[in-house]
Symmetry: C2
Subunit: 985 residues, 2 copies
């Protein structure tokens, strides 16, 4: 994308919140201890150089080689939907049609064998590929084999790096790279990662790329000050050490900053979308410009080369949706190459003053190349490269222009994406556990692929980022919804098979707004709760019901406690009962409405709290939260068993969105956050409160204004406080754009520092008004300190730590010591959303009960686990999914960072025994692969680079033993398993 800046819209806000979770034992905890790296095993791939560079063009060793990279940047949705871009619909909105681009590029490559092109987005390429004839496919295979068509990046999309969760990144890259692997074999495997457009770059992204086997990484956007410094220091290219846990060079990635984002140099854009003058090489034409052009190009190339260290430099010749008529570009590039290289052999030619040219040292050779071939030359240069250990957030392309708004844009879509990730994992797991019977069964054809593709699309840097147009965001949601359908069929097939009962399943997609016709109207129904985690989970089920009393029975037909709660914020009473679900399995609960009417409702009726009334508080066995009697705001959080008390004031504020001012025209928008002044306005000075106290939940309902409310909640047994808030519709009658934040203020002495996660995985330390790699000239004291918060943000004084976990990506900061804030933005209408404790929350499926038997004569099963034993807490089952006929993809992850949890030893290496682990299938063959499952780990290799920090060793890969899969902190191991499903499962 280029920048599209719609008018600022600030609308109703979403639900968010939940503190604690995976972070050791509780929200308040001792700080991270520093642990040495010595205990790590060696994970790096073998040292042989990666293949794939044999087809690269010849360069001139004694000249400046200018690598022209012909490319198109095809957003998988932005101003238009994916289908509109593919077909070239609504070309009056934006002229772009990917089908034509690919048609055209193939023709142009065939026309002239020296031409090269790269393609990136598999969401488009695979669609195009399936429309081609066998003959065309064969032609394309040849072009790929010859290196004339090269794939870069190769993910389904070019994902965003701020708002994406690492699990979804791995999935989308796997989907794209697998298409390439299946279609082109090794020829099609991208050697370079290529994120030319995302608006800032996360360290985790680089780590994942490294683990996928990429030899290098190129991107376009970084802070303008950073870029200037790098050009000056000739640090546009260096080694990025992208993990604090993984041993180098596992997460080392050679990274290059492109000279001109991803555009061609000024005046040299020869696309149908540009208006630069074409090369006119006929001296008889009044428009003849070849001589002038060559001279311009030589100056340009020489100047650019001075910011880079080798005698190679790259020019990206293409941009958004370019090459729809590839011939235009290539014809002019052909001429440029011919004209410039004519200078090589004949200095007496167009440029007459050859002596001057040599004096400038500007002997220039220009060639069609690719990012991989350019990278290969950099590698051959055999230099020692500087090392970067932080990330490239936030991104500013000029003073006052911080692209930190999109961290929070379209929170509803961001939430839907995260929910869909959860559902996709459930769908994948059940497909893997049940095998073909999940795909073809009594409910029709079940399939995880549509949701998998939709989720991959959502990772695009204008999708989950929230930067697309409204109708495109709607289409993303449509794609997700369309993906849910076949997964629901799959779940039905799977659950019927596993439970042995063909129920009429009901998925209640609108549980998030407390609508579920079955539970609200039926006198009897059953609730299947599926748990996608590798460990048993205890979870409070909440279902909308009509008023009444219910009898809830667990899988062993024992009655479990339940409550119907009426909430001040809703007309729908909710039934609560605690469920317990085994690892990778389900429990079925049976619910029956009792004939008694309205027994507890009156007793539990929440009452308004008055000023001066006794201190309002909620508590369970671990935590107590108190609220200020005057304001109704949260006042303290106590960890009861550790006797820790943290004063925490939490309230809502809003920044006035800038419309541009004297300092800069820059306004706040979907991409860019810019408040008109640094100090936010309070939404209100006090909150109206209601208390709900039952045996199964304690809640304080706070109403800050007509458009801003919050529920603070504690369930029994929980070590964290849940804050679920609803903002919207934000009043805009005063014409003041409002960026609403939730702010926590504590007395913690945080010394300007705070911590945010990187794509939900490792954590980076942030310092206010500071960047690790250059001396920052801060132009925006608020927006310039915002960072993406994918799953958590925390502050600590070394003794206590306040962590906020979020249920979707947001932007956050700490603008004063002890303070922490998160932003909500222009969301959809203000519906109450359910909070979730976990990324992989249990999936609830309802049914009326009494379905026909699946296995004739076999009694139904009310509880099931896909695992014969639970996984240890530090192990996450990142992926369990179908990979092919009788083949599964399996990823095991150590989800703790080095030294992160010293108290419970969760940061130690951990070993998993895969033998007999899964209850429904037997693994008959196991192969370990790189992260995206495109190469066997044993034979994969990457280019070697020498970092300035000293040489790294490239250890050999240990023999794979299914009985003993050891995971180091933050390590992900990926396996392709041949399996046989058991008959009786």
């Amino acid at each position: 994308m280029g920048v599209y800046a719609p008018l600022l819209g600030v609308g109703p806000g979403p639900l968010w919140g939940s503190m604690g979770r995976r972070m050791s034992s509780c929200a308040l905890s001792p700080p991270l201890s520093s642990v040495s790296f010595l205990f790590l095993l060696l994970l790096a791939t073998p040292g042989a150089r990666a293949a794939g560079y044999e087809t690269c063009p010849v360069v001139q060793p004694d000249m400046l080689n200018v690598h022209l990279v012909a490319h198109t940047h095809d957003d998988v949705g932005w101003l238009k939907t994916v289908d509109q871009y593919y077909y070239g619909i609504e070309n009056d909105v934006q002229h772009a049609g990917v089908q034509y681009i690919l048609d055209s590029v193939i023709s142009a490559l065939l026309a002239e064998p020296t031409r090269r092109f790269i393609y990136v987005e598999m969401a488009f390429f695979s669609r195009w590929w399936h429309e081609q004839t066998n003959a065309t496919q064969e032609i394309v295979r040849n072009l790929v084999h010859q290196g004339r068509l090269e794939f870069a990046n190769g993910g389904w999309v070019m994902n965003d790096e701020a708002a994406t969760h690492y699990g979804a990144i791995v999935d989308q890259m796997t989907l794209g790279l697998r298409f390439l692997e299946d279609t082109f074999g090794n020829d099609g495997r991208p050697r370079v990662a290529w994120h030319i457009d995302p608006f800032g770059h996360s360290r985790e992204q680089a780590s994942l790329f490294a683990q996928m086997g990429f030899d290098g990484f190129f991107f376009g956007r970084l802070d303008y000050q950073d870029k200037l410094v790098r050009k000056e220091r000739r640090e546009m290219e260096q080694v990025w050490r992208a993990s604090a846990s993984l041993r180098a060079p596992t997460a080392d990635l050679f990274t290059g900053v492109l000279p001109n984002n991803y555009n061609p140099p000024e005046g040299l854009c020869w696309d149908v979308l540009c208006a630069d003058q074409p090369v006119v090489d006929d001296p008889r034409s009044p428009e003849y410009n070849a001589k002038e052009l060559v001279s311009y190009f030589l100056k340009l190339a020489t100047a650019q080369g001075q910011s880079y260290r080798t005698n190679h430099t790259v020019m990206t010749m293409g941009s958004d949706f370019q090459y729809e008529n590839a011939n235009m570009w290539f014809k002019n590039l052909d001429k440029l190459i011919q004209l410039v290289n004519m200078q090589d052999v004949c200095t007496c030619g167009l440029i007459h003053d050859s002596s001057q040219q040599q004096a400038n040292g500007s002997r220039v050779h220009v060639l069609y190349s690719t990012p991989a071939c350019y990278l290969w030359e950099l590698n051959k240069a055999n230099l020692t490269w500087s090392v970067k250990e932080d990330d490239f957030f936030p991104y500013a392309d000029g003073p006052h222009m911080f692209w930190t708004g999109y961290f929070s844009s379209r929170p509803a879509l961001k939430r839907y994406e995260r929910l869909s990730y959860n559902f996709l994992q459930v769908c994948n797991q059940l497909e893997a556990l049940v095998g073909p019977a999940a795909n073809v069964g009594p409910y029709g054809y079940g399939d995880s692929a549509p949701l998998n593709e939709a989720m991959a699309v959502l990772q695009h840097h204008d999708a989950v980022s929230g930067t697309s147009r409204q109708h495109v965001a709607n289409d993303y949601a449509r794609q997700l919804a369309a993906g849910w359908g076949p997964c629901e069929v799959l779940l039905s097939n799977a659950l019927a098979k596993l439970s042995g009962s063909k129920e009429s399943f009901s998925f209640c997609r609108y549980l998030n707004i407390s609508i579920c016709p079955l539970s609200q109207t039926s006198a009897h129904f059953q609730v299947t709760v599926y748990n996608p985690l590798g460990r048993k989970v205890d979870w409070m089920v909440r279902l909308p019901v009509s008023e009444g009393l219910f009898l809830v029975k667990d899988p062993s037909n024992k009655t479990v406690p339940s409550k119907v709660v009426e909430l001040p914020s809703s007309d729908n009473p909710e039934l609560l009962f605690p469920a317990s679900v085994p690892a990778l399995g389900f429990s079925i609960y049976s619910i029956t409405r009792m004939p008694v009417r309205r027994p507890q409702a009156r007793l539990l009726q929440p009452r308004p709290q008055k000023f001066g009334s006794p201190v309002l508080s909620i508590k369970n066995e671990y935590l107590r939260a108190t609220f200020h009697p005057d304001t109704g705001f949260l006042r303290t959080i106590e960890v009861l068993d550790q006797k820790l008390v943290l004063p925490v004031s939490q309230a809502f504020f809003w920044y006035n969105a800038s419309m541009g001012d004297k300092q800069s025209d820059q306004a706040s928008g979907a991409y860019i956050f810019r408040p008109s002044r640094a100090k936010p306005f309070p939404v209100s000075h006090w909150a109206q409160t209601h208390l709900v106290k039952t045996a199964l939940v304690q809640e304080v309902h706070q109403k800050f204004s007509a458009w801003c409310s919050q529920v603070v909640r504690l369930y029994p047994g929980q070590r964290h406080l849940e804050l679920e808030w609803t903002v919207g519709p934000i009043p805009v009658g005063d014409k003041w754009g409002k960026e609403v934040i939730s702010r926590f203020d504590t007395p913690l002495k945080t010394l300007g520092s705070f911590y945010t996660d990187s794509n939900g995985r490792e954590v980076l330390k942030r310092r206010r008004d500071y960047r690790p790699s250059w001396k920052l000239n801060q132009t925006e004291p608020v927006a310039g300190n915002y960072y993406p918060v994918n799953s958590r943000i925390y502050i600590t004084d070394g003794k206590m730590q306040l962590t906020v976990l979020t249920d979707r990506s947001q932007g956050g900061s700490s603008l004063r010591d002890g303070s922490l804030e998160l932003m909500a933005r222009d969301a959809a209408a203000g519906h109450r959303l359910l909070a979730e404790k976990e990324l992989l929350a249990p999936q609830v499926v309802l049914a009326p009960g009494g379905g026909a038997s699946y296995h004739h004569g076999v009694a139904p099963r009310t509880q099931f686990s896909g695992l014969s034993r639970e996984l240890l807490p530090s192990v996450r089952l990142l992926t369990l999914a179908r990979w092919g006929p009788e083949m599964l993809l399996l990823r095991l992850e150590h989800q703790f960072a080095l030294g992160e949890d010293s108290s419970r030893n969760l940061s130690s290496p951990v070993t998993v025994d895969l033998r007999g682990l899964f209850s429904t299938f037997t693994i008959t063959r196991l192969q370990e692969t790189t992260l995206a499952a495109t190469q066997l780990r044993a034979s994969a290799s990457r280019l070697k680079w020498t970092p300035k920090t000293g040489p790294v060793s490239h250890p050999t890969v240990p023999r794979l033993d299914p009985a003993s899969i050891t995971l180091q902190p933050m390590e992900i191991r990926t396996f392709v398993a041949s399996v046989q499903w058991k008959e009786d499962s």
Copy 2:
């Protein structure tokens, strides 16, 4: 072009005028007598059907066949210059690059063998062709051979039909068609003429096309009322009988009106320049539209078919500069064809209600076709067609929207074009007369080709029409000027050889503004006057000099009378002397300044005329013109020997250009003429006059205003009055756009009729507020009665006739009986221009004299004729030009219409004996060809059509006898001659 409407600019005006000339004996003459057609010889080509249709696609006899014609319309200059269009420069002004169009179309044709395309403009195609590799050329030859690439029209440009002279039309068509003939042989010969964009259609154009061998003609623009009537009557296609002199079917041309100008139907434009939705045939896509599209197309095709008579109809799938990315168009057309024709075989498919479809009779078959293949189906239908005998002027595309402004737009360019035609004929003739020595000689490389090409470009319908942007008009002038250079070299080589003296020739290109350094500064110089006519010419030479007396000697060294005249309108005195020049030859005059100072200047000083002074008049032996003593305006013209007196008041007026009004938004512009009211304002009510009377000229200089003046002139021996006027700069300070006219008012009873020429050849009768083929609803009483005046306009009462000849194309009308007017428009700054009597005026070349001998030892020659005998008055040597090595192109023309001149019998058939006619070469072989010289006349054939007026006979071609070339009235005969130049010439 589409319509580009710049703001109205009315600027200074040009020179024009001259009455009489070829029209019988004088400007006032008896009316044309009506003569029967019986005396005509049979000129038609033989009756065998033309070949070239073998490759046409298969059609469905029982269905409506929709012929899709994929085409691009590539203006040879309009908003951008020719080179800018070719290369795709200034794409922000208009996105258009012809080089890419041709690249792209060839690729797309190769990709799918059923696709077809037509190309039209050879100015572009030939340039592109010469840039291609042999391999590509071979591919293109194959495509042409297979009928997949078809050429339509095939002229260098698609010429304008209002402002073009027939000689230049024939030249430009010959240039383009010859390229095709040389490159592709018979495969490349266009079968149809294709004038989809010109703004109205002349009858002469159709006549010329017929004589060039075209089988049919398609165009797009005609009066909106005419079109409605034709659709109603199903007369969109008919036979155009395009000559009142030539015997049918010589000038009969089957002519079709395209349904939608030249654009695709609404919603079906799939070019990179359009934004219509592409075909989405994947039902899984949310953008799926195939079903809807097919249904729309079927309705559209059926409705369109109802305006045409056969079960075939045509759709032009393309427009201005489309197909730059041909794949876009073709890919969607492929899908459309597949989807629609799927209906043919399977009515149970997408359109479910098959019964309804049959009830509508809408069984539709759609196919890639070409104009020729469509024409071929029309021909095979074997119908009897209605006949049209008038023309398609003026063109209005809606009420108040008459495209009659461009008849007069850019008069300076129109004049330069006409002058260049004159010079090109001189250049061609001398190249033919002298042979290779004209090309390579002492002055370098002389060449007629650049001027020939430039003149061809000027015939484009946005060039000489005056409808291009200013910078493009400048570039047209540049091209002409660039073409003059090599012709000047050629003339120098030729004149040196023919005269035997290597003079330092000087061409004085600025003689039209009385600047010529040589004559103005030299005491002695010589003047070579070349006469391109087939008859001796007597001509008054006028040269700027400094004051003084001059001695002028003729070729035989006899003194001829001369005068130096000082003119009130100029600082430069002019030397006048009468020259006499033999046919196709030259006379050299020697000029010497005499030592006496200012002898006659004072005597001849013009004096201002006062009111009430005696009647002002000028006269010679044939004519007298008198001027009104009060107003100074022309009052009478008398033909002395016939004792005829015609009262003629002549003065200047201006129409206020409309800016749009309540009736219509239409403003006056470069294309469209629309006065705000029908009555023009007088420029002034009287003129200041000066009289110049010498033995060699009598002139009345009239000054009407600061920006409008005129010279009325009589030379001895002239049978016409010359009016040379200068308008400009027109004051625009009052914000009133001014359209200046010169109006002649007489008492002639003209009964609403007047006469204008068609491309300078045959004459058409016009009637005010009337159209011959439909009942006109007149919306613009002035603009709707304007017609193109290419060379003359006249009115007559049956006894007397007033004819005005023009020196360039203009628009004219007769808005009241006895009145006649001509319009001048937005010209360049008001310089004095020289009047010319003839289209082929003598060419003056100056030299200091005393050059070296060309043929060593041979005395120079001061007079020369290329003809051994003069041609008869009715014979024009239309073309004498180089055709190849030792080959010449020769066109002889009978320049009188049937019955036009009964008094001197000039309308009778005339016979020319070619044996020994030319003095410098011998014709060794003579072949007669069609008009454009692309086919031998004996073997050429055209499709036969049956007109409603009854069957026509197709006589055989008589044997060619060089001794007896008979020309019927208005007949042009074209010959290719092998020649040998004589050593001594």
